[in-house]
């Protein structure tokens, strides 16, 4: 039976922010719909309303012309609306099967039979009796999907499902989604990734600042047109000029970097040697989990490895901790913004103060010089166009893009000679990515160096002067980026070899 979902004049106002402003949309089964928008455009609020987690101030939802009262998640479930949240709604310490059985109405034996049928039908391979915390992000998502499928949904809503997936997992997800669609499930796909919209979806609704600004067929759209609709202005194309000067000084030199760990979740690093020149960006590509985490931690001084030599500005720094390395004008931007780079419960200015230097005088005679830190923080917020000027705001309320800008600002305000960043644009929307890329290029223009560890090949090709690939803890030959093509990178990242 065909499904018809209609949202009519939905509004939701939070203090200080209109999350949804009179949103009306219509969806029909047999198609995959994209809901596109930047972070904070109101997509998540809309899907929370559809799944009954929050109730709208105004407006109605109709499923097959029946007016739905969605005042709790149970109502959405009863009405066969399934939802896979961006932040998984799983119980980490419970087993996969326990997670699935918690809201099941049948007994465990028949549930197990049904789950196994689904596993087989869609080619999912998941051990049902391991705790969820042992699963990869892609597997966790499959558990969420199975949970929805068990209730034979009419509507399946996916909230930014690929933000935690590898490319392989993304492809698998797309195949499954297309299968669901063929089986008559109406799919609403929420994302800020333009390419996914074009490759997966049939119709796209773009949201900006709580409003629907456009609804169109994806075949009539291109990446540029969608990006402009989403951001609301023309995006400048950025392209880096390649640094021609090859005879510059080497500012950073790593020799014999070895790392061995007993932990099966860590990757061993085998004899890494590389150097970075003044004003250069060295890109390190690779599929995540090939040693990037360990490499970043060793470069930042979180892990000290014996027998490694790291020369920075003609000094040996291999035995120094992160704070000491910062004093020598290195700066770091880790992958995990929330737990590694910033403390979410602390206010903005307190997070800024975490990165204190002797020279910054944030602390005097053991006391916090709040005024000075706040002034300094205000400067960062305005210099790096963070979307707030309230330094008292807790960092957890910043969107990913704004938090990344704050972190980069904190790191760069001391004018470091070398910035090491790891997936700096992970999970950000186009506008924020553009801003971060411009900032990174600006650093190189000022004759400062960067090491960019990233899993995004497009970003690497755009920003790096030279690129190396890390695979299973080993580093490939370092290549000038003009000699590198996406195909070449892909080959090396998958463990192949060129020449």
């Amino acid at each position: 039976m065909a499904t018809d979902l209609r949202i009519s004049n939905i509004s939701k106002i939070y203090p200080g922010c209109i999350a949804n402003d009179n949103v009306s949309l219509q969806f029909k089964s047999g198609k995959i719909y994209a809901l596109l928008g930047e972070n904070g455009a109101g997509k998540s609020t809309l899907v929370k309303i559809l799944s009954g987690v929050v109730s709208p101030d105004n407006g109605e939802v109709f499923l097959n012309e029946k007016n739905l009262k969605l005042s709790s998640p149970l109502d959405a479930k009863k009405n066969k609306i399934g939802m896979v949240f961006q932040h998984f709604n799983l119980f980490e310490t419970l087993s996969v099967f326990e997670n699935l059985s918690i809201d099941a109405t049948e007994d465990n034996e028949s549930l197990r039979v049904r789950v196994n049928e689904i596993l087989k039908k869609y080619n999912f391979s998941i051990d049902l009796d391991v705790p969820v915390l042992n699963l990869s992000a892609g597997q966790k998502q499959k558990v969420e999907i199975i949970r929805c499928l068990l209730r034979s949904p009419k509507v399946l809503i996916m909230d930014e499902p690929t933000s935690v997936l590898t490319e392989q997992e993304t492809e698998e997800l797309f195949i499954s989604l297309k299968k669901f669609c063929d089986e008559g499930i109406l799919i609403i796909y929420i994302t800020h990734k333009l390419k996914e919209v074009l490759s997966l979806c049939d119709e796209v609704a773009v949201m900006r600042k709580g409003k629907v600004v456009s609804v169109s067929q994806t075949q009539n759209e291109r990446v540029e047109t969608l990006a402009n609709k989403m951001v609301g202005q023309k995006l400048a194309k950025i392209k880096k000029k390649i640094n021609i000067s090859k005879n510059k000084d080497e500012i950073f030199k790593v020799k014999h970097l070895n790392f061995y760990s007993d932990d099966p979740f860590e990757t061993n690093l085998v004899n890494l040697n590389f150097s970075v020149k003044k004003g250069e960006c060295l890109g390190i590509a690779g599929i995540s989990g090939n040693g990037q985490n360990e490499l970043f931690q060793i470069l930042s001084g979180e892990i000290i490895t014996p027998d490694t030599s790291i020369i920075f500005r003609n000094k040996e720094i291999a035995k120094l901790n992160p704070k000491q390395r910062r004093e020598y004008l290195m700066a770091f931007s880790p992958e995990d913004r929330i737990s590694q780079a910033a403390v979410p419960e602390l206010k903005i200015y307190e997070n800024v103060a975490l990165n204190n230097f002797k020279s910054s005088n944030f602390f005097e005679k053991g006391l916090v010089n709040e005024k000075k830190i706040k002034e300094h923080s205000k400067k960062i917020l305005s210099d790096f166009s963070v979307n707030t000027d309230n330094v008292e705001l807790k960092s957890q309320f910043l969107s990913g893009g704004n938090l990344q800008k704050l972190i980069l600002g904190r790191e760069l305000i001391t004018a470091p000679e070398l910035l090491i960043c790891y997936n700096p644009t992970w999970g950000l929307d186009v506008g924020a990515i553009n801003y971060i890329h411009e900032t990174l290029i600006k650093i190189n223009d000022q004759e400062k160096s960067t090491i960019l560890i990233s899993t995004d090949t497009e970003e690497l090709l755009k920003l790096s002067d030279r690129i190396a690939v890390i695979y299973k803890g080993k580093l490939s030959k370092i290549m000038p980026s003009e000699e590198v093509t996406p195909e070449k990178l892909g080959l090396l990242m998958g463990g192949g070899s060129i020449d």
Partner: protein, 310 residues
């Protein structure tokens, strides 16, 4: 040495009796904590249970009413905690501490007229078997019904948490209240129930002290047992069976060191008195050092305030 064998039997029996209040209170608190609520008011709820049980016994002369009443009083006082932390979203730690202080004060006030009144003998089961079988008799028989219940409780709790749907829901709520709420589980209701259950068990633990173990009312008679129960839950890494082991070790060494003091061992008394605490912690740390299991048993949301998005 036939005398020693029967003496050891009696000794073990008395160790079991002394660990009952710990097992009861810790098993109750374990359920509360598994749902993500940290109630530091165990000591307060126990002492309220002790005085109300004793007072009801004196007033009604009915032990059944006394026992049920003590559990109800535990429920009522934990309801205060539940209302404050779950409905008014106060901090769990501060509220729990306040509950303990309140309980100790209130019990002293209520108990003023009950000091010095002799208790009533609590019926024991299978008393004939106790005498007739050497060694095993005093271990297995001649105890109150509450003791048998207490020793069954950790196994029941384990079964409840691992095998039943409700137990699964309690664990889910403790793991991630937000996810549970998004799955349509009424998190606040589940937590209220767990808090009230914990209160009832703490009330019963208190009543065991004032009605069975030392049948009389003495001010502050729980003497820190509530805190030990709390510590047991944590050191047993939220596993009911380990709570039982920990409670037995604590009770055992408490009794043994008293005997050692009486015999006159040349070990400083202070060290002997500290021994139960020390040994319980050491043993529990040793038996629960599997970090993976700890992670799986620890209620992730413990002590965190949950509120529903509107």
């Amino acid at each position: 040495m036939s005398l020693d064998i029967s003496f050891i039997g009696i000794l073990i029996g008395s160790i079991m009796a002394s660990s009952v209040p710990l097992i009861l209170a810790a098993s109750g608190e374990l359920i509360t904590e598994r749902s993500g609520v940290l109630n530091l008011g165990v000591e307060g709820m126990m002492i309220i249970g002790a005085i109300s049980g004793f007072a009801l016994m004196v007033i009604t002369d009915n032990l059944f009413i006394a026992i049920v009443g003590s559990m109800l009083s535990g429920v009522i006082i934990s309801l205060i905690f539940g209302f404050l932390t779950q409905s008014l979203l106060t901090n769990h730690v501060a509220t729990g501490l306040a509950l303990t202080i309140f309980g100790i004060g209130l019990s002293a006030m209520l108990g003023k007229n009950f000091v010095g009144i002799p208790g009533k003998e609590f019926p024991i089961l299978f008393s004939s078997l106790k005498e007739s079988i050497p060694f095993f008799g005093p271990i297995l028989f001649g105890h109150s019904i509450v003791l048998y219940f207490a020793f069954a409780l950790p196994f029941l709790t384990n079964y409840f948490l691992k095998k039943t749907k409700l137990g699964l829901i309690v664990r889910a709520v403790g793991d991630s209240p937000v996810s549970a709420s998004n799955q349509g589980i009424n998190v606040i209701l589940v937590r209220y129930c767990c808090i009230l259950y914990g209160g009832a068990m703490c009330g019963l633990a208190g009543a065991y002290l004032s009605l069975i173990y030392t049948p009389q009312w003495i001010e502050n008679m729980t003497a820190g047992r509530g805190w030990i129960a709390l510590a047991l839950v944590v050191f047993a890494t939220w596993s009911p069976i380990k709570v039982l082991i920990g409670a037995l070790i604590f009770g055992g060494i408490t009794i043994l060191q008293l005997h050692m003091q009486a015999i006159g061992f040349r070990i400083p008394v202070q060290f002997l008195s500290a021994l139960p605490y020390l040994m319980t912690i050491i043993v529990l740390v040793v038996i629960s050092r599997d970090s993976r299991k700890i992670k799986l048993n620890t209620p992730t949301s413990l002590g965190r305030i949950f509120y529903k998005e509107k």
